[in-house]
Symmetry: D2
Subunit: 308 residues, 4 copies
Amino acid sequence: VRLIVRDLGASRAFYEGVIGLIVEDADEDHVWLRGLEERQHHSLVLERGEAPCCASIGFRVFGEEDIERAIHWAKTLGLQHSLVQRRYQGRTLFVVDPTGNRLELVSGMEKRDRLLQQYGLYRGVHPQRLDHVNLFAPEVQASLDLYASLGFRLTEYAEEDGPNGRIAAGWMHRKGNVHDIAFTNGTGPRLHHFCYWAPTAMNIIHLCDVMATTGYLTNMERGPGRHGISNAFFLYVRDPDGHRLEIYASDYQTMDPDHEPIRWSLRDPRRQTLWGASAPKSWFEEGSAFLETSQRPASFKADVIVAS
Amino acid sequence: VRLIVRDLGASRAFYEGVIGLIVEDADEDHVWLRGLEERQHHSLVLERGEAPCCASIGFRVFGEEDIERAIHWAKTLGLQHSLVQRRYQGRTLFVVDPTGNRLELVSGMEKRDRLLQQYGLYRGVHPQRLDHVNLFAPEVQASLDLYASLGFRLTEYAEEDGPNGRIAAGWMHRKGNVHDIAFTNGTGPRLHHFCYWAPTAMNIIHLCDVMATTGYLTNMERGPGRHGISNAFFLYVRDPDGHRLEIYASDYQTMDPDHEPIRWSLRDPRRQTLWGASAPKSWFEEGSAFLETSQRPASFKADVIVAS
Amino acid sequence: VRLIVRDLGASRAFYEGVIGLIVEDADEDHVWLRGLEERQHHSLVLERGEAPCCASIGFRVFGEEDIERAIHWAKTLGLQHSLVQRRYQGRTLFVVDPTGNRLELVSGMEKRDRLLQQYGLYRGVHPQRLDHVNLFAPEVQASLDLYASLGFRLTEYAEEDGPNGRIAAGWMHRKGNVHDIAFTNGTGPRLHHFCYWAPTAMNIIHLCDVMATTGYLTNMERGPGRHGISNAFFLYVRDPDGHRLEIYASDYQTMDPDHEPIRWSLRDPRRQTLWGASAPKSWFEEGSAFLETSQRPASFKADVIVAS
Amino acid sequence: VRLIVRDLGASRAFYEGVIGLIVEDADEDHVWLRGLEERQHHSLVLERGEAPCCASIGFRVFGEEDIERAIHWAKTLGLQHSLVQRRYQGRTLFVVDPTGNRLELVSGMEKRDRLLQQYGLYRGVHPQRLDHVNLFAPEVQASLDLYASLGFRLTEYAEEDGPNGRIAAGWMHRKGNVHDIAFTNGTGPRLHHFCYWAPTAMNIIHLCDVMATTGYLTNMERGPGRHGISNAFFLYVRDPDGHRLEIYASDYQTMDPDHEPIRWSLRDPRRQTLWGASAPKSWFEEGSAFLETSQRPASFKADVIVAS
């Protein structure tokens, strides 16, 4: 995930000092970070800029031939795309998906030392790895269809009751757990949040204690709690620019070839928080705009929005 | 703590089946329960009755001579009192304190087998012991003064700011941790809640998961969270009659002879929940009436109530 | 995993009552169990028999065409194999691999209700899912080569130092975590252990407390501790017939296409237990024989064994 | 606890950097440390010296009149004693008890800021407070009698079976939990260990992970595990000079006036570790000598030692 932030020092203090991500490299305008079990160079890049937003979200592809296939796909659909140079990364394709999300497909990345068992480096919530991104989508069904066509598989979804019930949110995976990507009904394209995995709920409770007493009380937006959807123990926090980060522990496996998606009714409050608490208004409405949103193909239409 | 409950079976299912207290004895009209580390016969008694309320709260005294001193105290202040027969208990004095709270002072109790290391009996939240009671008090300062005169020591208090700020709540102990008894501003005499100690936050999180998925979702009133006051990790639940039970893990020690009470401003939201969440209205307003509240001495006056 | 056990009641009491697996079905001669997040009918089958052993270990394949491919493979290599009828399972191929391990390849299985969020059913160590099996192998390198040819990918291995150092153990996966199958140097073919996943170390510590105080003290063989290899928090226990079960929490993800295996020296005691404790002799030597071991193809030769 | 250490920097790195104690003050020859919930200036003092040993163990007394009573006691028994000046402490009496243990009785200490809720300062195992000390005693029964006469109350003891069984170890408290002081059979006077309290087993497991991977692997002597005695989850580590520190979570309350001590047979391996693991030889034999041991009154006799 590439974020544009206004004050690189404040953002680094947050992600490194509070959350506990490892700063692998930094220069005047960038900070590259990774989780404790990640061996590739980075999973989060902070870049200095005037207007905070999300520059792109990235996915690893298997190799160079996948980049070729993606270029073909982009050309076929008439999507904005270009090969880009990214430090520490192999061949990388930037592409704007048909709904306006800015993606980077990465064919490889430099490796760094394994830190998982360098426990002396553990800080904050002991973040292990980037788990997923969640995107606002004006038409969730269309987004699910699009990403299903790219190979993602649906694990859970929230739906209005009734014969014409619309899907308000959906969770899709590639890596065998609940999701790599999710879509939440709302004005898009925007990043709703990205999420790092923590070992246990105890780490998340400790993070709450730390944030509440070190000047980050108002950055705590929602939780901690247990999601009905995904069964994860979660906390949502906002970084100094308002980008939303989820910390998340425990979900379940989904690699069975006949794994069936779970349906949740929008009327069941436990889908969001198993214990019944509701999410604040900001959680439903606020998100990180993408760097450019003017590039959506004219053919894309998003008008009706239902509450997620 | 003695509670009057309407449906003894439903209450037993809650305290034994969900919370995990040990039923030491039961008859047609009573259930006697204790926590896993408690060696005395009971710390909670459920009694069948038509109107749910709190029959009394109890304190252990050192021996028979303390009962004599308490009788003398009751006579001196003109308090309603009587020696009562309680199954499994030694000499027991019932007394209504000057603010109307119904107390029982117990000089001894039958012992039962030690269960702390019979881990096969652990259920629910693994409740270890009765930790404290919290009472609504119309005049918190008066209640604190009264219980200080009985040997309780103040550890924390919440106060309005300003030169004439009233004390809105106070926590007092005898046993060297944050409290055995606390007083919260509100219409009294009423029991606000009683509390059992759990080993860790993880047990409390599991209790939330269990309650939310076994028909007790609406019994979860507040939390889980970290109290600013006491530093405890907490959860408030309501039993089938609405009696409020707190489950609580981790506080701190207070036995230093010169231990200084901590002052909290009513303006600091972290006193209630360190992480900033506010308590629901029901938590401030609802409580368990005592069995009889008409017995307060006429001399007691409680009129002005400020928000706690 | 299919185990032959002598006393079905005692084994059920262990796996259901102590470990907390769900009994999905049972008859006079069988008990079918599954973990809390598993939606297929069973992951463990206990079958009454006179001589305790492992009847087979099973793997899910994608569908019927994989069964055909496996039959072709068995025929090509001259392996003992047959299509078998198994209750609740789809088309199932029994095959003895070239090293004598008895496998079942399952093309599908009946689904049952999702229990992951029926927290009222959680017992014991809250076992979530079958994670992996570990097999004794006389020639670990040969076993790794064989399973690599079947699509398994190596994640970690332990090796003697020096230019001619033999591989003493290896861990291989299909599902994107550390392993589905592992091979440990020793007399084979035998099952060293199978493993269920628990949510956190706290559940495992509680299981220790329960086992130590409910008559299962001598069934605790090794741990709890942290593995160097896999980084998992682990406990090894023995069932009433001596079959070895591992309980395991937390490892890491391995689905990167260029994920590099980790090498451990046999001289580093932290590979087994990060904290330095050594495993007992029984752990290295004892295991569950397979139901029939006379069926190994004559071409297979295993003679030299080094300490793992 | 006052310890003489050879390399003040190495010891500070251990207690501050690894364990997480707060350094409240330091000069060229001393470091004063405290736990996160302790409000007094220090509970551990490291002092540079050539021969590592324990200079003294300290107890807080209620006030100056207790100092006078102690002086009277020392004079009556002919004990070596003197009023000493200690930085940050009020009136302090040094006294050698009849069995040769060097004690300091402290009538008060300077207060420092409350850190319990400054979670940004939490490091290492999150040590909360000094919990107890454990002393080698040649005649445990005599030591228990002595400290009972000083007001300590017995909670648990380990005894040889049989009609003439000797007491091999005993645990005594003042503060309402399992112990402030314990005596273990062995060559004395020596400090066996001192202990800080940690919030949960999870903190202790993390400390194991940290120590094993930051150069302190050989400092881990025993555990983690669950004590039968005290029911605490424990870990024993050795500091750079070999002084033994226990980290300990969860015990139980003992303030009932008729609380009965628990007897353990020396034959029950669960008294030491509930899960059955035995302690290493070093744990039984090694300890920290007191600064001077030549001062024991000639009347004291200790000869027979049984295994504890």
